[in-house]
């Protein structure tokens, strides 16, 4: 009367995508099971953790982040330090200064920064644009050209700029891109279809399907990811089989629980502890729902989540 295991292995699989070059290149996706279900079948490429830093420099408001980057005075040094963070498989460089509603830094300045970062690290590189669709169309194309041959991943192509980015980054310079949509399976699919119509092959893009911090509508994120994975694996929908990459540092470190000063809520304890727990909790919830990679900010979160993935898969 023993228990008969019935592994849930699908005939479809998540598309496998490589970023970076050389011995430190990483691969996302490739599994034919639900997320983290390594007991059903070998998880071909265990989920990855990336570390994020801004072109404005490390977030020195957070003591642990400031201490980690202490002494790194140039962008190159910061990038190198980030790439040495325990558990980080790739580095994510965010061009916050390029935001037209903020500093609106010129494209050539941003591109020079990207070059400095790319020269300083050997790990794969993800570049996040300004978040402004119009600016990113121009910016990410220029970055793709400057970093030609590095096989970087550019975030993000959205509905309003995917054409330019698909052609300018993928077709012209062979880079990878992330297709970003807002927590909805249909929007995600629609964008993937349109990107495919530009001639981008399925092994050249990942999905960024939106995110929220734990407690802030995460149910939408969980269900969107679970439905996307379900459609890709059990219904063999090849427009929903791209790996999912989820940058969540900005969400996790902007909610009240992570930033409210301890003076205002003495019983809550230090803000940094709250932020790390929020970041780790959100990251594990994303990985459980379907993310193939998460991007975090605090070195302690990076280390923790990478260690947990190592233990689970």
């Amino acid at each position: 009367m023993s228990f008969t295991k019935s592994p849930q292995v699908f005939s479809s699989k998540v598309t496998e995508i490589e970023i970076g070059t050389g011995s430190e290149a990483v691969r996302l996706g490739g599994e034919n099971t639900l997320p983290l279900y390594s007991f059903d079948a070998d998880t071909k490429n265990p989920p990855l953790v990336g570390i994020d830093f801004s072109d404005k420099g490390p977030d020195t408001d957070i003591p642990g982040v400031a201490a980690f980057f202490a002494g790194a005075d140039t962008l190159g040094a910061v990038a190198k330090r980030a790439s040495e963070a325990e558990g980080a498989s790739f580095v994510c460089f965010s061009l916050n200064s390029a935001d037209p509603n903020g500093d609106d830094e010129a494209v050539d300045v941003s591109v020079a920064k990207c070059k400095e970062v790319a020269d300083a690290v050997t790990k794969p590189l993800v570049i996040q644009g300004s978040g402004n669709a119009e600016k990113d169309a121009e910016l990410l194309g220029a970055v793709a050209e400057a970093l030609s041959g590095k096989n970087v991943l550019l975030m993000s192509a959205v509905e309003d700029n995917y054409k330019g980015i698909a052609v300018g980054a993928v077709l012209a310079y062979g880079q990878k891109i992330a297709a970003e949509s807002a927590v909805d399976i249909n929007l995600a699919k629609q964008l993937n279809v349109m990107i495919g119509q530009q001639g981008v092959s399925s092994d050249s893009y990942v999905m960024h399907v939106g995110n929220a911090a734990a407690g802030y509508g995460f149910e939408y994120v969980a269900s969107a990811m679970e439905r996307i994975r379900g459609a890709g694996l059990s219904q063999n929908d090849d427009m929903l089989q791209a790996p999912i990459l989820t940058p969540l540092a900005a969400d996790a470190w902007s909610v009240k629980e992570s930033i409210a000063p301890e003076e205002d809520f003495p019983e809550w304890g230090p803000a940094e502890e709250r932020g790390i727990n929020m970041e780790v909790s959100t990251a594990m919830a994303c990985l459980a729902s379907g993310s193939n990679a998460v991007i975090l900010k605090h070195p302690e979160s990076v280390k923790t989540v990478a260690a947990l993935v190592g233990e689970l898969v």
Binding site: G215, N277, E300
Partner: protein, 443 residues
Amino acid sequence: MALKGLDIFKLTPRTNCKECGNPTCMAFSMKVAQGTAQIEDCPHMSADALDMIAGATAPPMKSLAFGTGDAELKLGGETVLFRHEKTFVSRNPFGVNVNAANVDAVLAEAAKIDYERIGERMRVDVVNVEYTGDKDGFLGAVKKAVDFGRAIILEVSDAAVAKEALEIAGAAKPILNGANASNYKEMSEVATAAGVALGVGGASLDEIYTTVKALEEAGVKDMAIDVGSASAKDAFANTVQIRRAAIKDGDRSFGYPTIVNVGKIGGGCSYKETGLASLFTLKYGSVVLMSSISYAQALPLYGLRQNIYTDPQKPMTVEAGNYPLNVATAASPCALTVDFALTYFIIAGEIERSGVPVNLLIPDAGGYSVLTAWAAGKLSAGSIAKFIKEQDIEGKISSRDLMIPGKVAVLKGELEDSLPGWNIIVAPNEAVSLVKFLKERYA
């Protein structure tokens, strides 16, 4: 396994007596199959037939209650594997591990957590008292756990010690967690005598399964399964496979709630415990136990649980009313948005970030986002004016500045008509612009 109408029909007397209120036995059977009529409505069903139907229509996973009074918790009873299919039923309680040595310190820390979030009281739900070989110390810890007043799990596999512990804690209806392949007979006798549920564990899924089967044959009904603590990988594999066997494959012998002790698989690292507790909140832990719970851990975990266990058909809402932010007074300006919890949190967060004192007014808008509520007629000049009258905002607040969401700027004119004396201000379209807007206007 759902019964078809025809299967039920075969069990009815087939006399078309109409006593159930339906024209024929067939019509009645179809309704029962759809769940719109109860089998008990037929006065002529045999006891055997009733048992069979009850068995066939029972949920694939049993539910289990433990604890008493306001500490009572319900576990299990889940019917689906994914929340987009149907609402998850029993939110997973979070508990702390205590033993003879650390009981005072852990409970003192746990007692601090008590707050409300969107109408739900958040606190440490369970105390798991572990027997570590010191009987007197264990019994002392059990006594303290009882006094703490939350639901209790007794983690002890020595039947004699378990019996003594239940003399102290039996009235609190704990789960006696400690049955395994070698002691299940004695343990089930102790649990049955005290009328409490039994937690069953084992070295492998096979061993657990065999033990559960043996207990079922002995007539034990109330059980929970301890998924084990050999490693995070094992615990996760067991938890998922137990739930999947019950719900997807209809294997009733794994249709019991699970106990997951991340305190034992987190390697003594609180961040790892937070991560694992999050994982098991999404993936099928019915009770999640940790070595201790700090506020920093509770805030994300309880929020995440609230999200995951919300009804996918029904958005979370905050109660209508005035929420003074940044120590707002009667003279502080008012801002208005909808009662959809997500919108409320985002707007309240941005206002708090601005540091500008604001009275945030939340009318009943059906739990929709701003534009949807407006399109559905739940957020109109009329409904806003009515809310301001009903809540006596004009009596409580002296400021006459009212900011409305930029997306419903169209309401400005009508509002000026229906709220004479108020200065209606159109705020930005997006929450991200709010800090700048408020600072420029009021700081």
